[in-house]
Symmetry: C2
Amino acid sequence: MLKNDSSPIWERPERQPRPVPVPLSREVVVQAAIALADAEGLSSVTLRKVAGALGAGPMRLYGYIATKEELFVLMVDAIYAEMLEGEDATGAWRARIARLAGHLRSAALRHPWFAALLGGRPQQGPNALAFTEAMLSAVAEAPGIDDIDTVFLATKVIGAYVVGAVCDEAADAAATRESGQTKAQWQDANWPYIQRVIATGRFPMLSKVAHQMTHPAPGTLFGRGLDRVLDGIAGTTSTSR
Amino acid sequence: MLKNDSSPIWERPERQPRPVPVPLSREVVVQAAIALADAEGLSSVTLRKVAGALGAGPMRLYGYIATKEELFVLMVDAIYAEMLEGEDATGAWRARIARLAGHLRSAALRHPWFAALLGGRPQQGPNALAFTEAMLSAVAEAPGIDDIDTVFLATKVIGAYVVGAVCDEAADAAATRESGQTKAQWQDANWPYIQRVIATGRFPMLSKVAHQMTHPAPGTLFGRGLDRVLDGIAGTTSTSR
DNA sequence: TATTGATCGATACAATGTATCGATCATCCG
DNA sequence: CGGATGATCGATACATTGTATCGATCAATA
């Protein structure tokens, strides 16, 4: 009860029961943040907006995270969890790796902000570790890759390729989305610039790429690149094409 | 001259000449931002602080950039320029590629914020394009890689690996720096967590990695991984080791 | 039933990116 | 050479952000 209230009881408003707060959890908070990022971009992920989407005050979130940066960390790990949903350890090693890589790629394209959070902070969340574990165990089944040092190196190479390739692809997607245009519109808007750069004559190889290359679908490119990487770690050229 | 000034001339302060503004340029602004990021981390790169470091008001910067995001874009491309300083197209193709990759890696370690800016935005600055051009021309010299499609795919694979590997390494460096500790302190602080994760028994491969692996220097690992990638695109296993 | 400890959110605050706009300078034209 | 014009600078302002503080409320315990 209010102790020092100068207004007489007649005018003093009655205590009204605190509205029952929506039950929250770290999971719910993170999912709300992810939904916001998916819908309006990473820069719209604001403690106020996240809390607002949950019908709570901003300070409520500090019961679940200590910092906005921690929210980002949780978001990234939640996406790793998404990749592993329904994943089992079946199939030949190359197929397993390709499947895992594909999961990461499609998750990154579903959540264009994901790639932007990948660099710059270590990935040590339980789900990120589970993803690495899955990669390690798939690699360990490859013939000729036995000692743990080789397994680790191969896994590192695969992981680095996948992350790097996905950063590339997602960057375009994010820029497109941020500009509020369609992919074609965005490419059309950038093409004149690229053309002028090429016209300087200082980029003969890029010119060849722009003019003479066939342009396979991004997914195809990703897969073929992964094949090259797997060839490298297997020390074979079996699946060249 | 002030037109509607009610104070009499006797009390009106004399016009003092505007202090000659420090001459600026996009280059100077970007270098100041880079210096700030190197010294105090990316989150300290503030338009006010950058301008302050140059002895100018914040709004002055808007003569050179339209947005803070544009400043970030320029910073990234400036680092690409750094990588190419003194670079020439000499040496065998594998050596050239290894040299270029090494430049990117060392630049990223010199500027721990660089990796965080890599994902999330397309790299189309003139220096980033020059870097890609150098990679393309080196790859084109590899025997058996002739048509432009193969050259592009190989370059994409190499670039993705390098970026991904560098993100990994730089993330640790950035986290270490951000925590204000030495690398050893930071690793010691994280080790108990990793140990508890492994103790769950759900990560047998990670356990092996943690306990049985020899831990080569990061640079060595980077180089060996690059060798695997180059093996893959060359379709040979020549330099295995 | 009184007390304690946890939890919620109103309020507050400093810092940020950036719009606005008057004041100042440099330049050009007569 | 003097006045007009256009560019450039920075003071001020504002909405928005992350987060500290703290009183008010609830649930559990003694």
